[in-house]
């Protein structure tokens, strides 16, 4: 059996997850990073994507949008402004998110970045639902 290590998902408002996991898949800004126990210390910026935490009681998935991941002393900490748990993701939420896309208009850089961010979130949510 894979060795467990501690993991937690922290947002500015609360601690969403805190338990032992055997493996984690973290959506870093430039691709997925797999983490297992005794990984060397890591400090990574997160992108938008699906965070997967494999624990003894099954797999937990969250859609995260930005933030930071820290691995130190066999403890993984995910700091993010927003993490939506798998069970909160519904087709209605995706539709609402897509509706937001239409409100962001303009061809300047901030608007384009905003649209890209929403699109990335929608894509991550779809991935979880699929």
């Amino acid at each position: 059996m894979a060795t467990a290590f501690k993991a937690s998902v922290i947002t500015p408002e609360s601690i969403l997850f805190e338990a032992d996991v055997t493996g984690a898949q973290v959506p870093a800004f430039d691709g997925l990073v797999g983490i297992m126990h005794q990984r060397a210390p890591l400090l990574a910026k997160l992108g938008t994507g699906v965070l997967r935490l494999d624990g003894a009681e099954g797999t937990q998935r969250y859609v995260v949008a930005g933030g930071y991941a820290q691995m130190k002393d066999d403890v993984l900490t995910i700091l993010t402004n927003e993490a939506i748990p798998e069970d909160k993701i519904t087709a209605a939420l995706i539709t609402a998110e897509e509706a937001k896309l239409e409100t962001v208009t303009g061809t300047d850089l901030p608007a384009m970045e905003k649209r890209a961010a929403i699109q990335a979130r929608v894509q991550a949510m779809r991935q979880v639902l699929a």
């Binding site: 922290i10 500015p12 408002e13 601690i15 210390p41 990574a44 910026k45 930071y68």
Partner: protein, 294 residues
């Protein structure tokens, strides 16, 4: 001595008020517990962000490069425009809560103006807005929708505006006046400096530094983390203000309930006395009448 009927009316009014204040106290208690949990909930995030900044600062210093970030730069000389954000509540009936914050805000503004600074006033909460309107002070920005449970996404926008103005050289600093939550028994009106940032990574780990894999480089990470610390500072001020408000309301409503209790007892006594003297005088009149008939 007042008539028994008048006293009954007053007693009823006091009892009704007591019911209201009692309910308000209970509502404030439950809101306080919620707000307190939120305030405690932000602590781990703040602690971790501090730790990450310290690690990144150490790595950047270790590589011999200077830490350079627009938010760390001192404002241009001659630029004397401070933003003062005052955090008050939307609702009243919370004792001296708003009064204390507004008094300190007024004092801070006067001090800054005496030092030759221009003050750009931002106010959150209807009570503060009403106060400054009464004082005929222009407010650059007002917020009334933040309420009891400040959301990070809302506060983030407020903080981002501050950082944008600061980096564009429009303002020389940002101060927040709010009620700091020290403990359940102690809250104090406080002024904090949000910008310019005095320095970062002051709490850098003294022990053997951890050799991190930085993704991206430590410098880039630090540049991203510095704005996060500003956002967190503003967010914490709002969260603490929300907790303090509920505590103040709880205490004020408890005092009001107790006072109503005391008043009710006194009125009951007065009523008993009035009733008794009324009976006595009626009896005396009756006896007088009987005597006269003889």
């Amino acid at each position: 001595m007042a008539k028994a009927r008048v006293i009954i009316k007053r007693r009823k009014a006091v009892r009704n008020i007591r019911k209201i204040t009692k309910v308000m106290q209970m509502i404030a208690t439950s809101r306080y517990q919620k707000a307190y949990r939120r305030a405690v909930g932000t602590k781990p995030f703040v602690k971790k962000i501090g730790e990450l900044v310290a690690s990144a600062v150490q790595a950047v210093r270790g590589s011999g490069k200077p830490i350079d970030h627009p938010l760390l730069k001192e404002p241009a000389p001659g630029l004397q425009k401070q933003v003062v954000l005052v955090v008050t509540s939307n609702r009243g009936l919370c004792g001296g809560y708003n009064g204390n914050v507004l008094r300190l805000a007024n004092h801070t503004i006067k001090e800054l103006e005496a030092a030759g600074e221009t003050v750009e006033l931002h106010v959150s909460g209807k009570k503060g807005i009403a106060f400054f309107r009464f004082q005929h002070r222009a407010m650059a920005e007002t917020h009334t929708k933040i309420g009891d449970t400040p959301k990070f996404a809302e506060i983030e926008q407020v903080a981002e505006k501050f950082m944008k103005s600061y980096t564009e050289g429009k303002i020389s600093g940002v101060k927040i006046v709010y009620m700091r939550f020290i403990s359940v028994g102690q809250q104090r009106a406080t002024v904090i400096d949000v910008l310019p940032l005095g320095g970062v990574g002051g709490e850098a780990e003294a022990a053997a530094p951890v050799q991190y894999d930085f993704m991206p480089s430590a410098e880039e990470l630090l540049n991203e983390l510095i704005p996060v610390t500003v956002k967190i500072t503003v967010f914490q001020a709002f969260i603490e203000a929300a907790v303090s408000e509920q505590i103040a309301r709880m205490v004020a409503m408890k005092a009001a309930t107790d006072a109503a209790d005391k008043m009710g007892k006194k009125l009951q006594q007065q009523y008993n006395r009035a009733r008794q003297s009324q009976i006595t005088s009626e009896l005396a009149e009756l006896m007088g009448g009987v005597e006269a008939m003889k």
